[in-house]
Amino acid sequence: MSTALLVLLALVAIGLILIFVIVGIFNRLVTLKNRFANAFAQIEVQLKRRYDLIPNLVETAKGYIKHERETLEAVIAARNQAVAGLGRAAQTPTDPAAIKALNSAEAGLSGALGRLFAVAEAYPDLKANQNMMAIQEELTSTENKVSFARQAYNDAVTAYNTYKQTFPPVVVASMFGHGQDAALLEFEDKAAIAQPPKVAF
């Protein structure tokens, strides 16, 4: 057996090992990406529920808050913007730009809701309204679920980003279309609920 053949065999062996390693990395990247995309589906369900509650909230508040039309309109506008942002992000949950847009839309909504609740402080009748209390309750519980689902999504995104930056994957990740880091969901979902009117129990 000639040396050339030996060298060829050695080269083939090295090539095979490389192929194994690269295929492994590729598969792992795909799995991790699918995971956080699926995790987004979970948070989408909860966010939708949250957005569906807000028109009811505004409708109920309208009957009491006569002189604060802008505040109410701002909530609706922020809500619509967030709905649009969610729609875009749900289509491409792997696109960091869409997630960042959703982040800022959510921040806007939280701010608008916070102002509404601050205004509502001045209307004891509104705070005592049964309907209002039920919506508040539902909103709080949805907020909690959003925060939980967001945590799961962020865990999955972090796992993906971390894996991408470790040694062997970092060399090949961008070749396989995994160049960009995925974005975290960073909205403050507690803001709106942090100072709700203290509904008496």
């Binding site: 062996a13 909690n144 796992a159």
Partner: protein
């Protein structure tokens, strides 16, 4: 044959698998040698020498071995993720109450009913949304990390009875111990198939390069081309051999699973109907995922188009499967999109008499009957809506489990509420919401509820799971002691593996009870001490039932929960027939005074479950308790 004998047969298939695999590798080496030697003779036609060259054989043999073992190790490393890794690899998305439509809900109900009826922890369900063929699979290293995958086609085109037949078939694979065998097979097959895969890969990449780069280094390209062709030729042999192995190991298990599905549902129309719909629909049971090949032996019906290798198909032909279930079948498939209405399920029959002997209890392990499934269905339907919703998704499932752990005495409970509030403020509201309904269901529902919560809990990310585990441990430790029901509950939750984590692989099998003498003594002593009645008598009865003379009752202080957990982990690796003796002995100890409290029964179920032997709960009383709580 009972549960343990089926498991034993599946285990012994592993030996056959290894033998066939060795033969296949030897054949591959010979084929590779012939191809390489042929190539050398051909290129060096001028100076002909003997085809027989031991040094060449050695080199080719080692090379082939290296590739095959590399392929196997690569795949087995990927399979460390267990059943969930397979499902994700095939493109599955996790299904739970929060993200599914009415039909998805129905599928989850079918799975939950069967899990509740068999005493198995609910398996996670994955939906293969992009697959229009009708197919399903069960995968996992142990029942604890089992997942069930169902294609979108199956979900849309099968009616409830047919879908139930398919799920019963998959449950049979979980209960009969086929999943582990199947996973090993995936790993070994990949090693055999990898030569051909590489050949195809090289060819494909060369085609791409040819288009892009023009002609350079013609000699090198020819050499690489020749190597690729050689790999493909040898690889084709590998594909044939792989198919042969899949067929040899799996076909009988498929017949067994079909037969079990009929036995579980006593509704031949269900599974036969599903097979007929597959036969009558255009895309049949094919999977589109490129990864389907190596998983094709673990799905419900053939995943790949009939090919040259079809004499060695992974699944028996549809006709033969249907005829075995329905001997009088007229040979007509059900045309697509008009599923035949199937016969209604028989309702529950009378309770079996004389339930209190160990032999009967052992006979119950891993068994499903239509009556049980129907009762489990009505028990689930009777659950208060608050509980039913909560156990459908991870957020609520956590609250249910935590609600079950809250103590009945005031000071401990106050302490536990404080721990909850400190851990996650939102969770406390949810616990407060579901707890009254959970408490109303009574102690009988405690472990069944936990079993049902396992699937949603496995959807937690590893970080969320760790946080939840820490909270559980803190709640259990709040009163500074672990009582029987807490231990049972903790034991079940201890082994939960999030789908994103790595499930524990079972260790090597233990064949002899003598090797686990200490563990047996500890287990039987702990159970005897937990029975509350005459400890000595319970221990005597149990140790007499075990063919392991000279066991002694251990003192109270040596029966602590941590040691028992470790002992159970080790005992879980006993071979099935030895497990039967052990479970039988445990039952003898529990039944010695003919009085079995709910706590005792649940403790026994937790122990048997930890040994991998699911004992069904008393579903009739569960149904009654659910009705009582709802009404």
């Amino acid at each position: 044959m009972d549960f343990f004998e089926h498991q034993d047969v599946a285990r012994r298939q592993t030996g056959r698998l290894v033998l066939l695999f060795t033969l296949a590798v030897l054949t591959l080496i010979v084929a590779a040698y012939l191809v390489v030697a042929g190539a050398i003779v051909w290129t060096e036609a001028g100076r002909f020498r003997s085809v027989w060259d031991p040094r060449l054989l050695l080199a080719v043999g080692l090379g082939t071995l290296a590739v095959v073992s590399g392929g196997c190790l690569f795949k087995l490393a990927q399979l460390r993720g267990g059943g969930a890794a397979i499902a994700e690899h095939l493109g599955g998305t996790l299904l739970n109450g929060g993200n599914c439509d009415a039909r998805g809900r129905m599928l989850l109900n079918i799975v939950d009913e069967m899990a509740l009826a068999s005493g198995l922890r609910s398996p996670v369900v994955y939906l293969l949304r992009d697959e229009t063929g009708i197919n399903a699979f069960a995968a996992g290293w142990t029942p604890e990390d089992a997942v069930i995958g169902v294609t979108q086609g199956a979900l849309e085109r099968l009616d409830r009875d047919q879908l139930q037949g398919v799920i019963a078939h998959e449950f049979s694979h979980i209960l009969n111990g086929d999943m582990r065998l199947n996973l090993k097979l995936v790993g070994l097959l990949h090693g055999i198939l990898v030569l051909g895969l590489i050949g195809h890969g090289v060819l494909r990449s060369m085609r791409v390069r040819r288009v892009g780069g023009g002609r350079k280094g013609g000699g090198g390209v020819a050499a690489v081309l020749a190597i690729a062709l050689g790999l493909i030729i040898v690889g084709f042999g590998g594909t044939l051999l792989g198919g042969l192995i899949q067929a040899a190991v799996c076909r009988q298990r498929e017949f067994l699973a079909d037969a079990s599905a009929v036995q579980f549902t006593r509704n031949p129309g269900g599974i036969a109907g599903a097979l007929k719909v597959i036969g009558g629909s255009g895309s049949g049971s094919e999977l589109a995922s490129p990864q389907a090949g190596e998983a094709s032996h673990m799905v419900f019906a053939r995943a790949q188009k009939a090919s040259l290798a079809s004499p060695f198909a992974t699944h028996p032909p549809l006709d033969e499967r249907i005829r075995r279930i329905e001997p009088s079948w007229d040979g007509r498939y059900t045309p697509a999109a008009s599923a035949a209405p199937a016969a209604p399920l028989p309702r529950a029959s009378a309770r079996p008499a004389g339930a209190l002997d160990p032999g009967h209890v052992v006979g119950l392990v891993g068994q499903l009957t239509p009556a049980r499934i129907a009762e489990a269905g009505s028990a689930l339907a009777g659950l208060p809506p608050a509980v039913a919703d909560a156990i459908g998704e991870p957020y609520g499932a956590r609250a249910v489990v935590l609600g079950l752990l809250l103590a009945s005495d005031e000071p401990t409970r106050t302490r536990q509420w404080e721990l909850l509030a400190a851990a996650e403020p939102g969770l406390i509201d949810e616990v407060r919401r579901v707890r009254p309904a959970v408490v109303d269901l009574g102690t009988r529902w405690r472990l069944p509820l936990v079993d049902l919560c396992i699937a949603p809990l496995r959807a937690l990310t590893p970080a969320q799971w760790e946080a939840f585990r820490a909270l559980l441990d803190a709640l259990i430790a709040a009163d500074r002691r672990v009582d029987l029901s807490e231990w049972s509950l903790r034991r079940i939750l201890l082994r939960v593996t999030p789908v994103q984590g790595q499930p524990a692989r079972p260790g090597p099998s233990i064949h002899d009870l003598e090797a686990v003498r200490d563990e047996c003594a500890l287990l039987l002593s702990s159970l005897a001490r937990a029975s509350g009645a005459d400890t000595e008598a319970a221990f005597d009865a149990a140790s007499r039932a075990l063919p392991l003379p000279g066991l002694t009752l251990l003192p109270e202080e040596r029966c602590d929960p941590e040691r028992l957990d470790a002992a159970l982990d080790r005992l879980a690796t006993l071979v099935p027939l030895r497990k039967r003796e052990l479970v039988s002995a445990c039952a003898a100890g529990v039944l010695v005074d003919q009085r079995v409290s709910v706590e005792e029964a649940e403790c026994f179920r937790a122990v048997a479950g930890a040994l991998g032997c699911p004992v069904p709960p008393d579903v009739e009383r569960l149904a009654a308790a659910a009705r009582g709580a709802a009404g």
